[in-house]
């Protein structure tokens, strides 16, 4: 057995040990088991996938044959290693956080019901990207659906939580059916190993390819949270326990994207522009709808769930753009787009897990997630507020944090559509670019609201005023992920080559060549770069830090042709350095020069000289997002009930009560019609089941006669 094989066995053994130990250990010890064994398994997973991702260590194992189906094969390439590595990044802090936050369930729920499915899901999440044949993939996928259902429905205090979990399971099953159909069409009655399916995909006609793409896109889109099959996602995320949501957003969502990339990008040859355009359009629409609903939410968990949908949309849009570029022969542009999409995926996992940790910490301390009941938390939970701010800045795509580079690259890629020939394609790119730009703007609004209304200002409830600070089990995972957010934002030049190599099977060109010119390497002549070009960037300071950092430099730069030598260029590291320097200089000037001899006087907040400023008088999250609500009213279609009570005649109103209800767009157009028609059909059957025995005998008789007639005349 190879070293990699031993590592994989170690991960699985750790998961098994965790599940077994939590079955037999005492009730108080179970959280510790989740923490220690979970993080140990996550470390092993990081080691395993890291050596596959960074060093390209191969792993391939043919396990056993299922007669007449397939040979169960496990295989690790850089693409699956990337997804595994990201899962590890989320599961490591996630296990620590889960261990801590499980404490509140002691005595109320069985901790076994959490930790056994948790470890089983851990092992499943490890195996899904490894499995290299359709049969085992589908079985593991099914296992994942069931295990996530068990974990989401762990807290079943309210009926809504159970129903949300059940909806997730039902939609997930429908998705699995679509995926299975896609695999069947793709395999074309050949063997079910991915290698063989890839060969079969190359011989598939256009209609077959469209069928496989649409089935896989829709099927995997369920888990990835794409329009029109993501209506389960906000409900399930809100219902899931705080210990599990980060895994849901940081790992299982990625697996949906993994499926799309694997099937639509690799197993199907990228030869048609259409599928890429569909992915781009659906992705942009998903992103816009996601952020619109996120902006108007006042439940922090629900807000983050809708924002996950937005991010999944951005990733899918980037992936679609990449497919279009690859299909129309621009491999290097395609590699930029795919690197941007994968970058966004990595970033999203990191900052979304971070944000869910902070919201979990707030929830366990304040016992509410409603922004309109929070406020002023920065005073009582300073670390949590700081980490939420880091996460919010990252997700709002502000430099120098994670999220900026990937969103910037995604938008830049859409602008590169000028290279494409067809006008129709250009128009689609332009529209999607506009939608994504609007999304980016709304994302800033959304997270300004979440941070400002949740953490700044006055406490709007007693619970928020007396909240306890987050415990160490929450601080440590949050701090780690916050640092990772900063690192991912500062060093895109070291991340992009890794992502480019992961996407290389699809684009056949590495993104590093297209995006990260070697400013540091091969000094002083810089190899492939022209001397005048280098001199120009030298004057701008592109070689600052050369002694400290190995590799290619800190500038992300896309080189064009002769007429346009630099298509775009930027460096978050230098930007951050300049930003820090400017802040420092401003601070020094202000503190030491201007304000040296001045006394600072602090007075109460000016609130129009009212006798007492009550929290109810301050701006709420609902008020902050109301402009968005009003502008997009046609889309939200709220149901407004106004109930006015008059005393004497119409002119004297005693009370006005206004109730505003909102039904999600997809609920109106997808879920409700499906639910209504299912009810209609089952009502029809229900009428047959009336319990009258004589009629049942009649049904049997009719069935017998029909059978006889069919037998007689066929």
């Amino acid at each position: 057995m190879t070293a990699m094989g031993r590592l994989l066995v170690l991960i699985l053994v750790l998961c098994g040990a965790g599940a077994a130990l939590s079955l037999f250990a005492g009730r108080r010890r179970r959280p510790a088991i989740v923490g220690w064994l979970g993080s140990a398994a996550a470390l092993a997973l990081l080691w395993f996938s890291g050596s596959g991702l960074f060093a390209g260590a191969p792993f391939h194992a043919t396990l056993w044959s299922i007669p007449s189906l397939a040979t169960v094969t496990l295989s690790l390439d850089r693409l699956s290693a990337l997804f595994l590595f990201v899962s590890g990044l989320v599961l490591l802090p996630g296990s620590i956080f889960a261990a801590g936050s499980l404490g509140r369930y002691v005595g109320r729920y069985s901790l076994r019901a959490f930790s056994v499915p948790y470890f089983a899901l851990f092992a499943t999440l490890v195996l899904i990207p490894l499995s290299a044949d359709a049969a085992s993939f589908l079985m593991l996928w099914e296992l994942m659906s069931v295990l996530t259902y068990l974990l989401v429905s762990y807290e079943d205090e309210t009926d809504g939580q159970r129903r949300s979990a059940y909806l997730m399971l039902a939609v997930g099953e429908a998705g699995t059916v679509l995926i299975a159909l896609g695999f069947i069409v793709l395999a074309n009655s050949g063997p079910l190993e991915f290698v063989a399916m890839k060969a079969a995909g190359a011989t598939l006609g256009a209609q077959g390819r469209w069928a496989v793409f649409l089935l896989a896109f829709l099927g995997f889109g369920v888990k990835a949270g794409l329009v029109p099959v993501n209506f389960w996602l906000p409900r399930a995320y809100t219902a899931a326990p705080a210990a599990f949501v980060p895994v849901l957003a940081g790992a299982t969502l990625n697996l949906g994207l993994y499926g799309i990339v694997r099937v639509a990008g690799e197993l199907l040859p990228a030869s048609m522009v259409g599928p890429g355009l569909v992915a781009l359009g659906v992705g942009s629409l998903t992103a816009l709808l996601g952020i619109l609903y996120a902006t108007t939410q006042s439940d922090l968990k629900m807000l983050l769930a809708h924002s996950s949908i937005e991010n999944a949309g951005i990733i899918t849009a980037g992936f679609g753009a990449g497919l279009v570029f690859v299909a129309s022969g621009h491999g290097s542009l395609g590699s930029i787009a795919l690197a941007a999409a994968l970058y966004q995926m990595v970033n999203h996992s990191v900052y979304k897990a971070l944000l869910f940790f902070t919201v979990g910490a707030v929830d366990s301390s304040v016992r509410t997630r409603n922004i309109d009941r929070l406020g002023g938390l920065i005073k009582v939970m300073p670390f949590t507020a700081l980490f939420f701010l880091v996460g919010a800045l990252s997700i709002a795509a502000l430099p120098p944090f994670a999220g900026f580079v990937s969103e910037w690259l995604t938008l830049q890629t859409l602008l590169l559509s000028a290279e494409l020939g067809s006008t129709g394609v250009k128009i689609v790119f332009a529209l999607c670019g506009a939608a994504l730009a609007l999304t980016a703007g709304l994302a800033v609004t959304c997270f300004v609201k979440a941070f400002a209304m949740g953490f700044l200002g006055m406490a709007r409830s007693e619970e928020a005023r007396h909240a306890r600070p987050a415990r160490i089990w929450a601080i440590v995972p949050m701090a780690g992920l916050a640092l990772l957010c900063l690192a991912l934002g500062l060093t895109p030049t070291y991340v992009i080559p890794v992502l480019g190599r992961a996407a290389a099977p699809i684009t056949r060109v590495g993104a590093a060549q297209a995006l990260v010119p070697p400013f540091f390497a091969a000094n002083p002549h810089h190899g492939e770069l022209p001397a005048a070009f280098v001199a120009e960037f030298h004057a701008l300071g592109a070689e600052v830090g050369e002694r400290l950092m190995p590799g290619r430099g800190l500038v992300v730069l896309h080189r064009g042709g002769k007429a346009n030598p630099v298509v775009f260029a930027m460096s978050t590291a230098y930007m951050a350095a300049v930003l820090a320097l400017m802040l420092l200089v401003a601070y020094v000037v202000f503190r030491l020069v201007i304000a040296r001899r001045r006394a600072v006087e602090r007075r109460a907040v000016w609130a129009g000289a009212i006798p007492r400023l009550l929290p109810e008088m301050t701006y709420t999250g609902t008020g902050f997002s109301n402009p968005v609500r009003v502008v997009f009213e046609a889309l939200f279609r709220p149901t407004i009930v106004e109930d006015t009570r008059e005393t004497v005649g119409l002119h004297f109103r005693a009370a006005i009560r206004r109730i505003r209800g909102e039904n999600h767009l997809l609920d109106r157009f997808v879920l409700d019609p499906i639910a209504d028609s299912a009810l209609w059909v089952s009502n029809g059957f229900g009428r047959l089941h009336h319990g009258v025995l004589n009629a049942y005998v009649l049904y049997g008789l009719v069935a017998l006669i029909v059978a006889l007639l069919v037998g007689r005349f066929s």
Partner: protein, 256 residues
């Protein structure tokens, strides 16, 4: 647009030239009684006619407490012994400051003074005069005076109206919310002494009871030029004692 510009240029400057030149337009001030030397019997008579006790009998005649005068004209009309009449309007007075606190605001504020107006129980007359400062004739922007709605940006708190019980807390809060250095300008006889309302159940008499007033602008209501004079004093752009008199001979005919 072009017509608008040419018309504007052709019209020229219509605003008053105060304080660069003396104000000559008629009707800009109602005037105020001045200290007069009168025989004791007549002085007693005329002082008794004053409803707010602004006129006080002294051995040499009568003295005027400008802070209490409400321009009722009872001391000049229908009386045998009219007092002298000061037809000017530079009535504002800069009160002596303490050691720590200078009197006017100093050079840094001379071209940009932000003013918060607080109505502490005004009848509307003083506010109406304050509003005139923004019109094209008095146009206080040309002097660098600006109104601001928030005390956080204000250098000067301009108070009008007799300070009622209910406005004591808001006024104190507004004053405390202002950044230092800050000054208080009390405008109108109600703000200065609560002339005809004090003392009563609703007001204790003047803004000075609550805040340290720096500039007093008497008058009921004071004309816009008097308020401007007060603001110029607080900005340190006028010498404290009004030596340059306003020529207002055209006002004399209104008196009798």
């Amino acid at each position: 647009m072009s017509q608008w510009v040419t018309k504007g240029l052709a019209t020229g400057v219509k605003a008053t030239h105060y304080p660069r030149a003396a104000e000559t337009a008629p009707g800009t001030s109602p005037g105020m009684p001045a200290a007069t030397s009168l025989p004791a019997a007549r002085a007693q008579l005329v002082a008794a006619r004053c409803p707010t006790a602004a006129l006080r009998q002294v051995p040499s005649g009568v003295e005027v407490d400008r802070r209490r005068c409400v321009h009722c004209f009872r001391c000049v009309r229908e009386t045998e012994s009219p007092v002298d009449w000061d037809a000017g309007c530079q009535w504002a007075e800069l009160l002596a400051g303490s050691e720590r606190r200078g009197r006017s605001l100093g050079r840094a504020f001379s071209r940009s003074l932000h003013i918060l107006v607080v109505d502490a129980g005004d009848c509307g007359a003083c506010l109406s005069e304050v509003r005139q400062l923004n019109n094209p004739y008095y146009n206080m922007h040309r002097l660098g005076f600006f109104l601001t709605p928030t005390p956080r940006h204000a250098d000067v708190l301009l108070v009008v109206g007799a300070l009622t019980e209910h406005m004591r807390l808001p006024l104190r809060k507004a004053y405390e919310a202002m950044p230092a250095p800050k000054r208080v300008v009390a405008v109108g006889s109600c703000a200065l002494s609560a002339a005809i309302f004090s003392p009563s159940f609703i007001c204790a008499g003047g803004v000075g009871k609550l805040l340290p007033v720096d500039v007093e602008v008497p008058g009921n209501p004071p004309p816009p030029l008097a308020i401007l004079h007060g603001l110029l004093l607080v900005a340190g752009r006028k010498p404290p004692s009004g030596t340059d008199a306003v020529r207002a001979g055209a006002n004399q005919d209104r008196l009798r």
